[in-house]
Amino acid sequence: MPWDRNQMAERAAQELEDGMYVNLGIGIPTLVANYVGDKDITLQSENGMLGMGPFPFEGEEDPDLINAGKQTITEMDRTAYFDSATSFGMIRGGKIAAAILGAMEVAENGDLANWMIPGKLVKGMGGAMDLVAGVGRVIVVMDHTNKHGQSKILKECTLPLTGKGVVDLIITNLGVLEVGHKGLHILETAPDVTREDIRAATEARIV
């Protein structure tokens, strides 16, 4: 059976190691925080915070304390605040070990598209281009196929890129794929999903 959203997040959490500073995107990546267990992980929020805590209790919301999704959050004992230039300095400077984010399309060479669909409303890339260009490891978590059943893992992206050759690992509802020099490698399959199932659902070259 393919993984559900929480199981994908749980699998992504396995990629994180003790001591890492990590940036989590919106959607399924946000759920990864629920599965880090005993590992000492510090979450970055690119609007200017390291050490992001959970949502506040009702009545304790602080308008001066939000995450990059503009949601109210809390601080922790280890929290540090800084301005946006410093925040993206640590991202661009490679100090953030990993970013986990969603995608519309990923190509077999690691190209990533997740910010615009031509002809549709474009809201902007936010910090996605900076993150994928700067962090140590880019992990994409997404459904393997779109709502029409078509592969989201392609030979080449059809949508405008967020980053070129930036993705390291893809975790989908069907399994885990690594971006290698000559193509994609299947590292793991979800329960009762075969390698053939993944090949059949993938347009990109799997070696």
Partner: protein, 234 residues
């Protein structure tokens, strides 16, 4: 040296003109210079370009200047929360230059430091880099991005002393320091002006050299997305 003004309108007196480029602090509705934005609206100045990470919501933040059609161009990284913005944008009434968020912050910071351009990996191989100069360093390709030299900076801090030395609070700092640095003139609004000597000099986030005019006022500080968790039973 008199930096303190009675209110936002007086603090902006003589600084506003049509067609100017204004850098504004804030992320979403967090840490935005809400009093100065209201005063800019009241002034009626138009055809403004704003360098600001976001464009507010329909009735708060830069959104109030969109309602009155005072903005002709935005330089932003994300504008998703504003229906009026989207309407004007789709109708071709408003120009938008999308910048990656870190590139936008660094364009402000760089200009404030006298750096007219810098190379970054961000956006290489994407639409953002098209038409821009590229250069290889140590086998990697970078794209040239230019500093944003604004005519005016409008920012918000938590507390400032009478000389403009200031501290921000939590994530309301965000774009405020780089936005403050990149303007020819910077006007800052704070929740409290305190006497010189009452802030620890080691804890100043932005020195007063960047702040030319200062006002104190009451802020609404609207929350854009209120998210909470349930208390567990004890």
């Amino acid at each position: 040296m008199k930096k303190i003004y009675a209110n936002a309108t007086e603090a902006l007196d003589g600084l506003l003109r049509d067609d100017m480029l204004i850098a504004a602090g804030g992320f979403g509705l967090c840490g935005i210079p809400e009093l100065l934005l209201q005063a800019i609206k009241d002034s009626g100045v138009k055809n403004l370009t704003f360098a600001s990470n976001n464009a507010g919501v329909d009735d708060f933040g830069i959104g109030i200047l969109l309602q009155t059609r005072q903005v002709s161009k935005m330089i932003s990284s994300y504008v998703g929360e504003n229906d009026e913005f989207m309407r004007q944008y789709l109708a071709g009434e408003l120009e938008i230059e999308f910048n990656p968020q870190g590139t936008l912050a660094e364009r402000m910071r760089a200009a404030g430091c006298g750096i007219p351009g810098f190379y970054t990996k961000t956006g290489v191989g994407t639409q953002v880099a098209e038409g821009k100069e590229h250069k290889d360093f140590n086998g990697e390709t970078y794209v040239l991005e230019e500093g944003i030299f604004a005519d005016l900076s409008i920012v918000k801090a938590w507390k400032a002393d009478e000389t403009g030395n200031c501290i921000f609070r939590k994530t309301a700092r965000n774009f405020n320091p780089p936005a403050a640095m990149c303007g020819q003139v910077c006007v800052m609004e704070v929740e409290e002006i305190v006497p010189v000597g009452s802030l620890d000099p080691d804890h100043i986030h932005l020195p007063g050299i960047y702040v030319h005019r200062l006002i104190q006022g009451t802020h609404e500080k609207r929350i854009e997305q209120r998210t909470v968790r349930q208390r567990e039973e004890a």
